[in-house]
């Protein structure tokens, strides 16, 4: 499972950093209008990112389903969905290593809280960490907090 996750992560970062589609994605993220002026089909790129992102979520779901232990319900995706968003923001949106770091930090923090014995606060602790981090580093851990220029 760990191997799958690492392989997928490496593949994704290669895709974003090395291929032309990846470069187009980064361009769209930076500036919508300029990207389309440079001949990038913005709609197509957005569709592509949704396809890749959903596919990766599907892979994560397969991994979760193998060890979750309880019967699957239709609500199984709600908590992970929110936590994924939190982890991405924690690491800095737009940075793949940041997302990995954010996810690891959150997971470790949650487990530590359970270990200390405050298991009912498990879901809260990651969010407290998030708020504290964002107070001191508004762009996330590895994200760049760009100064807005006029």
């Amino acid at each position: 499972m760990l191997v799958t996750a690492i392989v997928l992560m490496l593949l994704l970062s290669q895709l974003v950093q090395r291929t032309s589609a990846g470069r187009a994605m980064r361009a769209v993220a930076q500036d919508f209008d300029s990207a389309s002026l440079m001949g990038i089909n913005v709609n197509k790129i957005i569709t592509l990112t949704f396809i890749i992102g959903s596919a990766l979520a599907g892979a994560a779901a397969m991994m979760t389903a193998t060890f979750i232990g309880t019967p699957l319900t239709t609500f199984v995706g709600v908590q992970p969905g929110v936590k994924a968003f939190v982890a991405a923001v924690l690491g800095g949106i737009g940075s793949i290593p940041g997302a990995v770091l954010g996810g690891l930090l959150m997971g470790i923090a949650e487990t530590m809280v359970v270990w200390v014995g405050l298991s009912s606060y498990r879901d809260a602790i990651a969010l407290v960490i998030l708020i504290v981090v964002l107070l001191f580093k508004p762009g996330g851990l590895l994200g760049s907090s760009a100064v807005e220029k006029v």
Binding site: V82, F85, V86, V89, I93, S120, Y121, D123, A124, L127, V128, L130, I131, L134, L135, P138, G139, G140, E148, V150
Partner: protein, 398 residues
């Protein structure tokens, strides 16, 4: 003089309207519908107060249920602890306690508003969301607040008019704010922060004020809910509450008070009404979906063709939608030839959230800026819309 006449007139009209709603609800409705009337007022208050933060000041907050919850629990706690000693008439007590709830919520709003000075966009949204969840988990683990079992609020009176009066007050406050010079600074922050700062708008103060005022109204709504229902649990204020309120604001057209009010009532009433639908067969369901997708796709295609004139475009929309309905009916009959399609039935009660979601998606695809966009309801606006339509009719006649 006219100013004061209008002002007092509208205050009296609001009070009269609130009492009228109370009277009608008491005379004609059963307990269930009366509760819906009260909840509708609470949702109107919530949507309009979130509109102040989200639509008017442009600070994307998805933790509004947290302020609602803080208000409900503060007022519930006050009632639980002090109602024996205070010995006040229930109406006065309810008003006082709701003010207490509003104060509690506005302190929470201040706490959330402070970090928002440095954050924008996704980051602010996630912090408000995180705050909402932290509050809920904290309450769930505090035994002195009832924990996850919930809290009883020993209060037996209920005043429908007071809840509606709160909704009217919220609407009036945000409208008057928008009319004043201070309101313009809120709009300036939404449109362009850097430019606003350059013009001397105190961005910090504006953002924090928006959070404090918005959450105070949400807190008052929470107090009303706690005392109407007499029982609150942390799950009443779960994350999806925040999302529903946010949907109301966005669907109504963020920044429009009228839009938020209308969307709050419609989005609250729609899922409740859908409970009573008869069960539908698989054939009908499939036909409805296919027809809907076709109509939406054709409409979107026409929208992107810029060579067409306006009346021509209108004509096409009408053809697509009427055609869509007819084709849907035909398709439903055609599909019911297939036995498996005819025999599987779905209970509409279970499908209601699906219908709700599809309605939202279709509306947002056809009108991304929300139903009312940035418009407000006023007599002048209504006159303008009617005049435009008349002009268009005159143009298309010859």
């Amino acid at each position: 003089l006219k100013f004061w006449v209008v002002r007092f007139g509208s205050i009296l009209a609001a009070i009269a309207g609130a009492f009228l709603i109370e009277f009608v609800a008491r005379q004609t409705l059963d307990d269930y519908s009366r509760r819906l009337v009260v909840l509708a007022a609470i949702y109107v208050t919530l949507a309009v107060s979130l509109n102040l933060i989200n639509g008017i000041t442009g600070q994307f907050s998805i933790g509004h249920a947290a302020f609602y919850m803080v208000g409900a629990y503060t007022s519930g706690f006050l009632t639980n602890t002090f109602i024996q000693q205070a010995n006040l008439p229930p109406l006065l007590w309810l008003i006082l306690v709701c003010i207490g709830g509003a104060l509690g919520a506005s302190i929470a709003g201040f706490l959330v508003g402070l970090p928002s000075l440095r954050l924008r966009g996704d980051y602010l949204a996630i912090v408000t969301l995180a705050f909402g969840e932290i509050v809920r988990i904290f309450v769930q683990n505090s035994d002195w607040l009832g924990g996850s079992y919930g809290m009883n609020v020993p209060f037996n009176e209920n005043y429908i008019w007071l809840v509606w009066l709160l909704a009217f007050t919220t609407i009036a406050c945000s409208r008057n704010l928008l009319q004043s010079a201070r309101g313009l600074t809120f709009l300036a922050v939404r449109e362009n922060e850097v430019a606003a700062q350059a013009m001397g708008v105190p961005i910090t103060a504006v953002k924090v004020t928006a959070f404090v005022v918005g959450s105070a109204f949400a807190g008052a709504a929470g107090g009303m809910l706690a005392h109407y229902e007499s029982f609150i649990t942390p799950m009443t204020f779960a994350m999806d509450q925040s999302f529903i309120i946010l949907t109301m604001v966005v669907l109504g057209g963020s920044g429009s008070i009228t839009g938020a009010t209308l969307a709050a009532i419609v989005l609250f009433a729609l899922p409740e009404q859908l409970r009573n639908l008869p069960p539908v067969s698989g054939a009908t369901l499939a036909a409805v979906f296919i027809a809907l997708i076709a109509a939406v796709a054709l409409t979107k295609k026409t929208e992107s063709q810029e060579s067409l004139s306006k009346p021509e475009r209108r004509k096409r929309y009408a053809i697509y939608w009427i055609g869509g309905i007819l084709a849907g009916i035909l398709l439903a009959y055609a599909l019911s030839i297939i036995p498996i399609m005819r025999e599987t039935t779905f209970e509409a009660g279970k499908l209601r959230m699906l219908i709700f979601a599809v309605t939202l998606i279709v509306l947002m695809m056809l009108r991304p800026q929300g139903v009312m966009a940035h418009h407000e309801f006023s007599w002048a606006w209504l006159r303008k819309v009617l005049k435009i339509q008349k002009l268009q009719q005159r143009e298309s006649e010859p």
